[in-house]
């Protein structure tokens, strides 16, 4: 079938609190990842790769960096005459900014009315993966579900917002627990839902009129008996961002060739904004092993088990191990860093030493000088 009948809605501010340090200056969706990407690139590319041509990005706060990243949507082939990318900032009916997903959806009447698509894919940005969304929509239509909730099976992320699902044999969801359910492993939702547009609008209106503003609790959990809410198990490799430590681990997971091949597939590309940097330059005394290095990097020192973003400079005799070094950061000569996450445009002066631990990396904020 043609997926011109599905539109995407992305919530880049959901789970901002999981990476407080990084989201003080940006939405979770624009948190840098994997050397040249932002977290939103993954779900956005997955949508585009299934043929979705209309995507709304429902922003709530701190979305300047996200808007700069998305631009006209051209990098994702979403700069279209008809359809394309729509950034949907708060509408401002009340003084309060969005309390949650429902408040964001409630302001989209005009956007929905002008859309011809019958189905909506709702997605958060905290899951990195190359997921075949087409199969989820197919399953949604085949099962005749009212709502389909994508989930994975495994160790449950210990977050207040985690949905833990109990499903029947046909994957119909029988019960939903929100937050710590006491279980350590099981089926947990990954912030990805399929629903018919008309039903979504109706549910949102009904919830708003009762001042029920929590999508997961007031729409999913409340209706689990009365509606046909189905699960869909995502089997693709994913990396879940639920804390600074898991953000660190997810980046490092890309150093594994198999994981990289599963996420950066050549048949379903992950798109991102282009920066016109020249290729990475390795100096005469450089020594690099087991690392990802983006264009524009200049490496004169030693780099091990690290992710080096665009336009990063590593000076002579500097030693970097188990680090994530974001765009534009400079590590001057003779500095030694271990298990450090350096946000954008950090300047580490000469002869500095910083040592974190893999399960507790040090974080240096954007623009800081050490």
């Amino acid at each position: 079938m043609s997926y011109t009948n599905v539109m995407g809605l992305i919530f880049p501010n959901m789970h901002d609190e999981t990476l407080r340090d990084m989201t003080s200056v940006r939405a979770l969706g624009s948190v840098p990842f994997g050397g040249r990407y932002r977290l939103i690139d993954f779900t956005l590319s997955n949508m585009v790769n299934m043929g979705v041509s209309k995507v709304g990005v429902i922003t709530k706060s701190n979305y300047q960096s996200l808007m700069d990243h998305l631009g006209s949507g051209k990098a994702w082939d979403l700069s279209r005459k008809n359809q394309g990318l729509y950034i949907l900032p708060p509408f401002g009916i009340t003084d309060e900014s969005y309390a949650g997903r429902i408040a964001g959806l409630a302001t989209l009447d005009a956007f929905f009315s002008n859309s011809k698509e019958d189905y909506v894919l709702l997605s958060d940005c905290h899951v990195v993966g190359n997921i075949d969304y087409e199969k989820i929509v197919d399953a949604h239509i085949a099962s005749g579900a009212d709502i389909t909730v994508a989930y994975q099976t495994g160790v449950i992320p210990q977050l207040d917002s985690t949905l833990v699902l109990s499903t029947g044999l046909d994957d119909r969801i029988a019960d939903i627990a929100i937050g710590d359910s006491g279980e350590t492993t099981g089926k947990y939702a990954i912030g990805l839902y399929v629903i018919a547009k008309a039903l979504l609008r109706q549910l949102v209106h009904s919830a708003v009129s009762r001042n029920q503003m929590h999508f997961e609790r007031d729409i999913l959990q409340r209706n689990v008996q009365d509606m046909r809410i189905f699960g869909y198990e995502v089997t693709e490799k994913t990396l879940m961002i639920s804390s600074l430590a898991s953000y660190f681990a997810a980046n490092m997971a890309l150093l594994d060739p198999e994981t990289r091949a599963k996420i950066f597939r050549t048949d379903r590309r992950i798109y991102t904004k282009v920066r016109d940097c020249c290729p990475a330059i390795y100096g005469l005394k450089s020594s690099v092993s087991n690392s990802l290095v983006a264009d524009g990097a200049v490496i004169e020192g030693s780099v091990k088990n690290s992710i080096i973003f665009r336009d990063v400079k590593i000076g002579e005799n500097a030693r970097i191990e188990n680090c994530i070094v974001m765009q534009g950061t400079i590590v001057s000569g003779s500095s030694t860093l271990g298990s450090v996450i350096l946000d954008k445009d950090v300047w580490i002066k000469e002869n500095r030493t910083l040592q974190g631990f893999e399960s507790y990396p040090i974080f240096i904020e954007k623009g800081a000088t050490v």
């Binding site: 994997g34 798109y271 290729p279 990475a280 990802l292 973003f309």
Partner: protein
Amino acid sequence: MFRKQECVAMLLAGGQGSRLYALTRNIAKPAVPYGGKYRIIDFPLSNCINSGIETVGVLTQYQPLELSDYIGSGEPWDLDRNEAGVHVLPPYQRTKGADWYKGTANAIYQNIPFIERYDPEYVLVLSGDHIYKMDYSDMIEAHKKKGADCTIAVIEVEMEEASRFGILNTNPDGSIYEFDEKPAVPKSNLASMGIYVFNWQSLRKYLEEDEDNPQSQNDFGKNVLPAMLDDGQRMFAYRFEGYWKDVGTIDSLWEANMDLLNPKVPLDMSDPTWRIYSRNSGLPPHFIADTATVQNSMISEGGNVYGEVEFSVLFPGVTVEEGAIVYDSILMPGTHVHKNAKVQYAIIAENVEIGEGAIVGQRPEDMDDLKDWGVAVVAQDVVVHAGAVVKAKAMVETDVKGGEDA
């Protein structure tokens, strides 16, 4: 009605680049990859937009498909504009018949209607053969100040090398009194860079006269410029200082790539005030494995390096397997060097497979006779099978089987 443009650039991109042999078998010279992620044409196009010139005609003729695809809407260079922007201009059929572009001047002559619709004061003529960063607006400013009809950019070359170039002989005020094409005994060392600024109205007149002359080869250097000089038009040299390299031969293309690895060479590709734009591969960052050694090299996105890479330029999506050695070489997009293969002093074109243990190219110090040495070239899509040998200076256009020498 088009908005008037002060200056329209016309980029001559129709040349075959026959001295690049195997590398221009399927593509025009301006589309030849350079510098780890660029193509030659990125330089004049980026120079145009950085100089504030927003209308560019690209004259194509030889193997235009890949070049036209590459330019596309011009979006990577910010040249996708409503009226201005980049326009690919191939030869076309008219009611009175069709003509190929007979020469550089004829190519512009055939596109007079394109230029006229912008009603420009000046036309900038560029070629797609050189690597350089230049602010054309400074040159146009100098042209205006001198009240010139034509200004030609020149660069000082070594006196010993001057006989390889088109030399301009000038008066102390910079005005040109003589063109000397590859002189045996050069009088000056000012070499023409193939960059011209013309007053459009006078150029138009000379193009029309040149077209009416059946003896003419319709070439700027041979016909139009000398005719203007003979007529006493005001022609000036504009001195350019900085990096400029012709990449018309295998050796010069190899050298120009190696120049990027030399910090002493004044070609800064990472200057944020004068970016060189290109169509990006959009691949993930490249991976350097723990078995790899990388020294003094340039590596672009999407690559996977498990072997040894020194003094080399790797384009997007290049794989170098464990135990493989790549020294002093240029590996274009998508090339795969298998285990224990050895690539030295070579230019490997796009999507080439170098099989396990194969040897491509030789070091000059390993040669019995230096006269036999040169950069080895493997053409696009060729497979050099496991164990095969490609000698120095070889030009490989077909697959090489194991045990075979090429």
